[in-house]
């Protein structure tokens, strides 16, 4: 009991608190195979090479992190046993837990973590911000490494405990030495499950087996099999028939049917939710004009978008903030235009912008239901505001290629697109791509707003929370005034599982170490 308490207490990260909120109270039983229908097909295995959520979720089985984030968004040590910060906040020292082992049986050493962090800092937005502050990483001994900053950087632990893509997962140094532009070839982690490469069939299944030496927790399941089922009706039938145990993302239309089945349960693992975006392209007319962009803000009716795209009101909420409404930086600062639709004002702004009636190309993704609905709502609202809308229908893959084009809309480019981000990715200015004003270095749409970049730099250099909160509000005011993008609300995605599945945790990704089958 003492040992269990210590583990629970020390482990903390990600799920210790969350475990209390798990949807089941059954006694946990060791062993067994869990059959899980994942949200997408796992094709890329390298969590640094891609930002795909499916790769992040896969990596939570295979890899571990130095720090994690619990349900209350507090950073907790995970692989790290203890850490210290110098009085001036410029030097951090981290000591790893005892007994950490890679899946190949080798011990985890400080050098592995140094190399893993170096690779991650080359790709991740938060990591790049940290890298821009001149950190020097070095192993002090086999279990301890240091991070010495060249310039002040407040949220070091938040960066290392970043829960969403790209997550700073730890890998053996020989693997982490792979260029960040190349995919790693060997999948060896120290996480709760070992990836079985021979049984991996892209487009069908991924198999994981228990990592018996996982520290600091006990893993209940012997094996986890991820299945990919592109057809929701098939997954629903398989869950009802008991052929699968857990369906990660059932479409919201299916939830009522699932809830009618006494053998099944649903649960909201990520109450923070997901945020929808309407993104104007700042490079080309009419949205290279601030007034035309502000018209998009004033025409916004989040309720209309959410009704059309999500449909079931208990799973969505309006949110007049660019930062996740359930997060610590949510604010209504500067959100007057977003908070209440004012079509009259929108029409006036369109006129004042000097819009010449040229067709406005709206990317219309047809193979993702909520993006399809969002584009149709946008057409109606933009037309009502006085724009001449040209919906360009395409599949998601084509949309990805189109959005990367900086050409004018009549040469294959675009004016408006829709996308979505999990709340963890819009939590604060250091992770939020929508508030970057870095021009060519910003997210697609490329707003060039130097003031935003300065505020974000100030944010990461701030060391106290009230100052950060104040800077986040400043960021929001500028982002909404310049209309870097327009959020169209938040929604929550339930998960569905059979009642013999216990221990599902509240987190942005499905976690399996605590799951068991009764």
């Amino acid at each position: 009991m003492t040992q269990l308490d210590r583990r629970q207490f020390l482990a903390g990260a990600t799920a210790t608190a969350a475990a209390l909120a798990a949807p089941s109270v059954h006694a946990q039983k060791a062993g067994g195979t869990l059959r899980f229908v994942a949200q997408a097909d796992l094709k890329i295995l390298d969590p640094v090479w891609t930002t795909a959520y499916i790769t992040r979720n896969h990596s939570y089985l295979v890899y571990d992190t130095l720090f994690g984030t619990d349900e209350k968004l507090q950073v907790r040590p995970q692989m790290v046993d203890r850490h210290s910060v110098s009085r001036d906040g410029m030097k951090y020292s981290f000591t790893l837990r005892d007994g950490l082992k890679w899946h190949d049986g080798q011990p985890v050493v400080a050098e592995d973590c140094v190399e893993s962090l170096k690779r991650w800092m080359k790709k991740d937005r938060f990591g790049r911000l940290l890298a821009a502050h001149g950190p020097r990483l070095a192993a002090a001994d086999r279990k301890t490494f240091t991070l010495e900053l060249g310039e002040k950087f407040g949220p070091v632990l938040e960066a290392l405990g970043k829960p969403s893509s790209n997550v700073p997962f730890m890998m053996p140094a020989r693997i982490a030495a792979t260029s960040a532009d190349e995919q790693i070839k060997e999948i060896v982690g120290s996480g709760p499950f070992r990836f079985v490469k021979d049984e991996w069939q892209p487009g069908n299944q991924v198999v994981y087996v228990k990592h018996a030496d996982y520290v600091p927790r006990r893993v209940h399941l012997d094996k986890v099999v991820w299945r990919y089922m592109p057809d929701a009706a098939t997954a629903a039938a398989a869950l009802a028939a008991g052929e699968i145990d857990w369906w990660e993302i059932p479409p919201i239309d299916f939830i009522a049917k699932v809830e009618q089945n006494s053998a099944l349960s649903t649960f909201l693992p990520d109450a923070l939710g997901t945020q929808g975006w309407l993104r104007p392209n700042h490079l080309h007319p009419p949205f290279n004009n601030k007034k035309a962009r502000q018209a998009l803000l004033h025409m916004m009716s989040q309720e209309t978008y959410l009704q059309a795209a999500i449909g079931v009101s208990k799973y969505f909420r309006t949110c007049a903030s660019v930062f996740a409404c359930a997060g610590p930086y949510a604010s209504k600062a500067g959100a007057e235009g977003l908070d209440r639709q004012n079509m009259e004002r929108a029409r006036q702004l369109v006129k004042e912008s000097g819009y010449d009636g040229r067709p406005v190309t709206v990317v219309h993704i047809t193979d993702i239901g909520f993006l399809n609905a969002a584009a149709l709502v946008t057409r109606e609202l933009m037309t009502a505001a006085g724009f001449n809308v040209d919906l360009k229908a395409m599949d998601w893959s084509t949309g990805l290629a189109v959005r990367a084009k900086k050409d004018p809309p009549d040469k294959g480019g675009w004016n408006v697109l829709h996308t979505w981000w999990m709340a963890a990715d819009v939590m604060h200015p250091a992770v939020h791509f929508g508030v970057s004003g870095a021009g060519p270095g910003a997210w697609f749409g490329w707003p060039e707003i130097p003031q935003l970049e300065k505020l974000i730099t100030d944010f990461v250099r701030a060391t106290d929370q009230p100052r950060r909160k104040q800077l986040a509000e400043e960021v929001q005011k500028v982002a909404l005034d310049e209309v870097a993008y327009v959020p169209w609300g938040e929604w929550m995605q339930p998960t569905a599982f059979r009642k013999n599945v216990n221990g599902i945790l509240k987190f942005i990704a499905p976690l399996f170490w605590n799951v068991s089958i009764a």
Binding site: D124, K185, N204, R227, A233, S397, L400
Partner: protein, 313 residues
């Protein structure tokens, strides 16, 4: 005959080259860019350009074709852009499912469609004939995905006799193997069963009017003997042609069935690859499937000779 088969096999080479070039060209005029998909949300233009260079996608079209054809000649179908797995491995993982599904579906189609067509022709105008024709029209009219869900609802969810989805290899046991294929094969076969039944009936009706059939009946031969030995054999050329085409169509039609029943077959591999613009996988699968089509046509041509000695090549 053997020389003819060899000649035809050699003749498949230019056909395959044309298919390969057409597939390559088509893919390169299709919108979409795997480098953008790989690069992800945080990529800059430079990141995307670097990935395109590494994948060789920045090379001129003729250079890319040359590299790909060079690999094909060496028996290398390439590597998936996303998973990094060899295309041959991916095809190997999926081929068995599609082959078994297609064979089962064809077995059901022929096993039911041919006798139904023969009986309908023999009992022309009777209720049996009408029943077969109603069945055939229904078979043509029912969308595969709809039929699949109905069968799942009835036999898997309500009755619980068969699994909803998935595939198990024969090594898992004969019943698990068969049980996972019954519903998908039934779903896939219905339309071809209907096609074969109609074609057999039409062909048999023509043959049953022939003098030698009347003579056979006049000689007192048993109707079953006359129908199978004399009529069906002579009516079988169009049916064999349809069966040959049906094999090709079944492989194509398997895409929907594989999705409905979550079967890891070549159809889904192709669709998934198209969705992501995984060019090497699309090219590899289409090349292999094209080869299979060519071989099926060759087998059909050989069967013509076996069934009708008057045919010479």
């Amino acid at each position: 005959m053997l020389a003819e088969i060899l000649r035809r096999l050699v003749a498949t080479i230019p056909v395959m080259v044309v298919v390969a070039l057409a597939v390559f060209a088509l893919l390169h005029v299709t919108p979409g860019d795997p480098a953008v998909i790989i690069a992800g949300d945080y990529a800059t233009g430079d990141d995307i350009a670097r990935i395109r260079t590494r994948l060789g996608l920045d090379q001129p079209f003729h250079v890319q074709v040359g590299i790909w054809l060079g690999r094909i000649v060496r028996g290398d179908l390439g590597t998936s852009i996303f998973s990094g797995l060899p295309v041959a491995t991916l095809i190997g993982q999926r081929a068995a499912t599609t082959i078994w599904l297609t064979l089962f579906a064809m077995l059901i189609s022929v096993g039911i469609g041919v006798p139904a067509g023969v009986v309908a022709a023999w009992r022309r105008g009777s209720w049996i004939d009408r029943a077969v024709m109603v069945f055939a029209v229904s078979g043509f009219s029912m969308p595969t995905f709809w039929l699949g869900f109905i069968l799942v609802y009835v036999f898997a969810i309500t009755a619980g006799w068969l699994p909803v989805q998935g595939y198990l290899p024969m090594a898992s046991g004969l019943w698990p193997f068969f049980s996972h294929l019954i519903l998908p094969a039934l779903t896939l076969s219905l339309v071809y069963m209907a096609l074969i039944a109609r074609m057999t009936r039409a062909s048999m009706l023509g043959v049953l009017e022939e003098d030698y059939i009347r003579t056979a009946f006049a000689k007192g031969l048993a109707p079953r003997w006359v129908l199978i030995r004399h009529a069906l054999k002579n009516a079988s050329l169009p049916v064999v042609t349809i069966i040959g085409i049906g094999f090709a169509l079944l492989i194509g039609g398997a895409v929907v069935t594989e999705s409905v029943f979550a079967l890891p077959g070549l159809g889904r591999l192709t669709v998934d690859a198209i969705v992501r613009r995984d060019y090497p996988v699309i090219q590899g699968v289409l090349l292999v499937v094209s080869g299979v089509y060519v071989l099926i046509n060759l087998v059909v041509d050989v069967l013509y000779v076996v069934l009708d000695p008057r045919i010479r090549y």
